[in-house]
Amino acid sequence: MARDVRLIDAPFEPASYVEQFTRAHPGLGGVCTFVGEVRSDDDVEALELSHYEPLTLAGMEDLADAALERFDLMGILILHRVGAMAPGEPIVCVSACARHRRDAIQAVDFAMDHLKSDAWFWKREKRGGTWSWIEPRDQDHADLARWQ
């Protein structure tokens, strides 16, 4: 179970996936996990993530493979919500286990930068009852440049 990549279309508990993932890798040195939640700032009432499965899931699998190739990992888990979410709900979970901590931490950092910028998702937010699409941010390009 070196690579576990999923799109999830309903609220989920990251901890249960991470626990199963960690147990599947006995003898690991360490596991690093990042869980992102929908932020409750700026009066956002809801967030909706659209995806196109043939590209979105394949792209996440390629990202997992890139992390496995770049860092010395025992395994990587990438979970991403799609659909409509409320503030406070988990939206993304990346977990990497490795014999040495730096590989695990860097793999999570790497995967998150790529997920947040060039994954195949289209996002809109609802504020004051009105939906609006989120445009790509300049920061995303800076995030990716860290890994080139």
Partner: protein, 80 residues
Amino acid sequence: MAVRVVFLGKLADLANAAELELEAPLDWAGLLDQLHGPLGEAVAAEKVKLALNGAVLADKTQLSAADGDEIALLPPVSGG
């Protein structure tokens, strides 16, 4: 059968639909002919990509879709 056209992101708003069925065969000119007004302009914009059966075309104007094919029209991603 026909060609299925899937609209992502704001293109779905402009199309008033998440997808559409068009008659096969379908090339780039034929596709644009059937997408009117702001939708057609948006789809033609350079930064909108086109995938045929899950593979992004290097040059979307080279589109050549047959019966049963699926086209996806992809505006710039906003990321996860």
